[in-house]
């Protein structure tokens, strides 16, 4: 992994950081919900350049990290026992299940394929009419249109041997869950820019009002993050709480209506279990009854026992922002990206992996 010391608009970043230093008068805790933002904050060293008053808390916004253990076990079962061609994104393949990850299943001979896009899985199904193809469809709102579209493609092209194992989560209910947690100390949020590219920003107004917190829709590049943090700090210092859009060059207030249409066509909002956090009401998508033929959960009707999480991994506390990754006793010892104990160490968007890579890079620099 490469680390960047000089990036685009480095001067602007420095300027925003200076303004943050001049604006801040007391401690504030701000959560960035999106794992891509966590990754960027850590990788670019912005986290270390913020004044000590500004504490960034890393939220649960890594879809791979919050996919329930039981669903990973189901995917492993489908690949090994039902002989399906099991496809997913690279990170998802590496997350440990209760027995093993999909990557380990692949090493044992299961047909597990890493794809860039669910649309490729539909083509694989078309080319292999005698096999069942299942796409393990995880993600936030950004990824939902692609996963929904794969179902629509399969339907239009008359591909009956394609289905998705869906584990879709939504950002606004996660913000609610964080704010409703009595241990939470969050005073402001950076909302995820690419999620809002799809969904627009309207659903954040009620959250701003109800919890009286600033929310700033923010991009993922260093200059975006520095500016988003500054906008949040300005509001906090003035005692204001508003919804602002830092990422307006990409995010339109109404989002992408075509993408929303596709999501609504295939998915409906349902309660969802978040790994390490528990069930959050109305916090995810499931496949609509009209499309049950494409819902792997129903098609294969796999009921496998729920296994308790290993108690060595404190991912739940990390995902809720209550503990930092390096406060986990396993961090860098029993748990590394090569041998992850929990999902946040697998995905580059997971807080544990972000901190791990960063600490390695720091050692290289000081060595």
């Amino acid at each position: 992994m490469k680390y960047v010391s000089e990036y685009r608009d480095a001067d602007m970043v420095a300027q925003y950081l200076e303004e943050i230093r001049q604006t801040v008068t007391r401690p504030w805790a701000i959560m960035e919900v999106c794992g891509g933002q966590t990754h960027s904050l850590v990788k670019n060293g912005i986290l270390n350049m913020l004044p000590p008053e500004v504490r960034m808390i890393h939220g649960p916004g890594c879809p791979v990290c919050v996919t329930p253990l039981n669903l990973i076990d189901k995917a492993v079962y489908l690949a090994e026992e039902k002989g399906v061609i099991l496809c997913s994104y690279g990170d998802m393949i590496r997350v440990p299940g209760s027995k093993r990850s999909l990557l380990e299943s692949k090493a044992r001979g299961a047909d597990v394929r890493i794809l860039y896009s669910p649309l490729e899985a539909v083509k694989i199904a078309q080319e292999n009419p005698d096999r069942e193809v299942v796409f393990f469809a995880v993600g936030f709102e950004t990824t939902a249109p692609a996963n929904a579209l794969s179902v629509i493609h399969a339907q239009r092209a008359g591909v009956p041997n394609y289905s998705i194992l869906a584990s879709h989560v939504l950002v606004p209910p996660a913000i609610e869950a964080v704010m409703n947690d009595p241990d939470s100390s969050i005073q402001g949020f950076l909302a995820a820019g690419h999620v809002c590219t799809i969904m627009g920003i309207d659903e954040y107004y009620p959250l701003v009002d109800r919890y009286e917190i600033p929310i700033v829709v923010t991009g993922f590049e260093p200059v975006d993050l520095a500016q988003g943090i500054l906008m949040t700090i300005r509001q906090l210092e003035k005692g204001e709480h508003q919804l602002e859009n830092q990422y307006s060059r990409v995010v339109r207030p109404e989002g992408n209506p075509e993408a929303q249409k596709v999501i609504q066509q295939v998915f409906t909002i349902a309660d969802r279990e978040w790994r390490g956090i528990g069930v959050i009401p109305m916090s995810g998508y499931e496949v609509r009854p009209e499309y049950v033929a494409y819902d792997a959960n129903i098609k294969f009707n796999v009921n496998i026992e729920k296994v308790a999480e290993s108690d060595e991994c404190i991912a739940g506390l990390v995902l809720k922002g209550i503990k930092k990754p390096q406060e986990c006793p396993q961090f860098g010892r029993g748990c590394t990206p090569q041998m992850p104990l929990g999902a946040p160490m697998v995905s580059s968007e997971g807080a544990c992996a972000a901190y791990y890579h960063f600490s390695q890079a720091m050692e290289e620099v000081s060595a």
């Binding site: 990036y7 891509g36 690279g90 669910p118 950004t142 990824t143 690419h194 990409v250 596709v262």
Partner: protein, 86 residues
């Protein structure tokens, strides 16, 4: 996997018996297919943000080039070639 990567639409074709509008999108040296279902007005030469094989937003050329250069610099383009980082 949550990032959207900007690229340029090189060509457009209909697939699945004329039901699906797909584009060939150029990302630096890599070319990939992307669905234009979410951007019905996108045309050849436009710059689009592509997330897991679906174009989700139009962007201007300057923004696209800056963002692409940044992603390249920090080594975030691996996901275009799945499995390459394993």
């Amino acid at each position: 996997m949550c990032l959207a990567i900007p690229g340029k639409i090189k060509s457009i074709e209909m697939q699945y018996g004329g039901l699906v509008r797909m584009a060939k999108v150029q990302f630096g040296g890599i070319s990939k297919e992307a669905s234009l279902e979410m951007l019905p007005h996108a045309k050849e030469g436009d710059y689009v943000l592509v997330h897991v094989g679906v174009a989700i937003s139009l962007v201007d050329e300057e923004e696209a080039q800056k963002t692409f250069a940044y992603l390249e610099e920090i080594g975030e383009l691996d996901e275009l070639v799945p499995g390459s980082h394993l």
